[in-house]
Symmetry: C2
Subunit: 220 residues, 2 copies
């Protein structure tokens, strides 16, 4: 079975189409590597874009929020969403202003919401969110009560269409410009964690857990 | 004159409304501190969300792209956009799963595109983009030719409405949970630059410019 999404007018990468990729094996790692996504939806005829935490469960994106949130209410009724994830990996300094660029990995996904109502399925989704955000946290933290679970809406969005767009490497200048005395190259960018900062009200004698020390060290 | 955006159903922060802020003095620094934004627009009835470089010129957002890009064509015709900028500042580990959160600064702006056609205005916009991306670069790089300028569409989007949403500080747990033997606090996150990497085809004898060394050092 092909692991590629169908290419349609909706998800086709048009500009720099050679940077486009429709393979789940390319798209999903980009989605998973980001702690947040930007969700777009239509409300009263206008596009609204909201940053939110996401997780992936197979070919579904999980989103959660307050039962009262506009986005969650819309998705719970089957509303359509566009979910975009972007990583900036560097600034690309070409010799010409025109050829300046960025190195990036982005993924754009399309689908419609399905409300998760089964309490066990909901609890499993909360576990997936928590473990994606901070691996090891679910078993350590105080888990949700039925009342807390009820205050949270969770939707899954089966991914109907997706595409990735990736740029890597050195600048591409016009051939004549390579002779210019102008520095060219890449200024890399990345996201890092700092040192864990204890809550001022932390109970005496509670140490930073090992899973958090390891996680903080994973992005240095 | 008030520096606040009007609060309407479109831009009002509903969830955790105390985190909402409508002051340009709060919103604009959030917008300016990010190298990219996520732009939402409606195409054939669906919301599409695209990451792109932005710059601000007073009460306008500048966007640019290929003359052939779907987004730029739509905005050039006066299309509406939602422009969202998000910074992740940390993971907030509460004692309960339910109260986990993130520290973040986000801004959501609304407006409609106006095509910039005047060549001088266009060149000034390209200068603003370049200087925002890499301060000092405009005077060093080879500047756009008329043909390159023609291949680029630039729109300005007068900001009609805007809001910011910000969370800072320690977790907020249920009072009873503070007695639990669970570590709580914040894992800070930030974006950093690495060391400049020269283009393999860099002309011999061209050193990394001082403005780039300074810029790389500004996010360590």
């Amino acid at each position: 079975m092909s692991n590629q999404f169908e290419k349609t007018p909706l998800n086709q990468v048009k500009r720099y189409h050679t940077r486009g990729d429709y393979d789940r094996d390319t798209i999903y790692p980009i989605v998973d590597a980001s702690l947040i996504c930007h969700v777009g939806f239509v409300d009263h005829g206008r596009a609204i874009v909201i940053p939110t935490i996401h997780a992936r469960q197979g070919d579904n994106i999980l989103l959660h929020g307050s039962s009262k949130s506009r986005l969650m209410q819309l998705l719970a009724k089957g509303g359509e969403a566009c979910i975009t994830v972007t990583h900036l990996d560097g600034l690309v300094l070409a010799r010409s202003v025109f050829n300046h660029s960025m190195n990036y990995r982005s993924a754009v996904l399309y689908g419609s919401g399905v409300l998760i109502e089964d309490p066990d399925e909901k609890m499993e989704a909360l576990r997936i969110f928590t473990e994606k955000l901070i691996p090891g946290r679910w078993d350590d933290a105080r888990q949700p009560t039925p009342i807390e679970s009820k205050a949270t809406k969770i939707v899954r969005i089966p991914i109907d269409l997706g595409s990735a767009k990736v740029r890597t490497g050195a600048p591409g200048d016009d051939e004549a410009d390579y002779a210019l005395d102008i520095w060219a190259g890449v200024l890399p960018m990345r996201t890092v964690f700092g040192e864990p900062e204890a809550d001022p009200r932390l109970k005496a004698g509670v140490d930073v857990p090992n899973y958090l020390i390891d996680y903080a060290a994973s992005l240095k």
